[in-house]
Amino acid sequence: MRAVLRVLAPLLGIVLATLGVLVVIEVVAAWVLPEQEGGLLVPWPEWGRVLAGLYWNDILVRGTAIGVGVVGLLLVLVALTARRADLRLVAPSDDMTVTTSPRVLARLVGTRVRASDDVLSASVTASERRVAVTAQAWDDAPDELRETLVDRVQELLTELPLRRTPRVAVSVQEREGVR
């Protein structure tokens, strides 16, 4: 959700900034060119006439209100669910909180997995609940490579003072060709 928020925030900012600029242009144009019929860039007198003919109980007004409400609720939902997914670590005392980011854990796990001679490359995603490793192995890698990697990752996780030990999921893909 943080990715969605990062895309949405600048887009909404650009839209609002554009609306602001248009309003400024129209206000200045109305001052400077009072004889101009209609808006300079936006046909706001025409929009005004359309709006003047609408009533609160019109379907269009109700539909727009419902649409704006739904979009607003979705934005609130995105904002509420886009919290930082920090991993909590065991703190030395009660007046302290110690956290780290999933990225830090993923990097550590990746370094540990790639240290194996039988692994060509690896990608890791980490969260408080789960660490998922996708390793690409050489074609002559031993059959028990997956179990070895799981053990290595679990050994690393026990070394870290994580409050909650995530589950480990390792998948190994064999690469065609010789080493």
């Binding site: 302290m96 110690v98 780290t100 980011s101 830090v104």
Partner: protein
């Protein structure tokens, strides 16, 4: 006739800007063995390095309690808990010694765990 002087303790007051407290916290944290400094680069060009990053909130009271949020890169492998405990002690001592403030809470975010050689070693003076 001149008005009598106020008591010495009431003639003025000392306020320490939170920015100064932040610097004290960051310097104390950087001095703890096990914390590391990071290289700062813009578009791949090395423009120096940075260490711990702190945010300080000063409460009310005498002495004023201080809540600290600290971001650190730590050396790995090392005992994270031991280093964080040492950081807590160092920061509390320096805040008290230099500014007379009491550290109330400390929230540490470990932003990196890495070996000492890559990319920069802790600078201790």
């Amino acid at each position: 006739m001149r008005a009598p002087l106020a008591e010495p303790a009431e003639r003025g007051r000392l306020d320490i800007h939170p920015g100064v407290l932040r610097k004290i916290v960051e310097r104390a944290a950087d001095g703890v063995p096990g914390t590391l400094r990071n290289e700062r680069s813009i578009a791949g060009i090395d423009v120096g390095e940075y260490g711990a990053s702190a945010r300080v909130t000063v409460g009310t009271g005498v002495p004023a309690p201080v809540d600290v949020r600290l971001e650190l890169t730590l050396r790995y492998p090392t005992a994270v808990r031991v280093v964080v405990e040492a950081v807590q002690a160092a920061v509390a001592v320096e805040l008290d010694r230099l500014a007379g403030h009491r550290m109330r809470t400390l929230a540490v975010t470990v932003t990196g765990l890495r070996g000492p050689s890559a990319p920069a070693q802790a600078r201790l003076r």
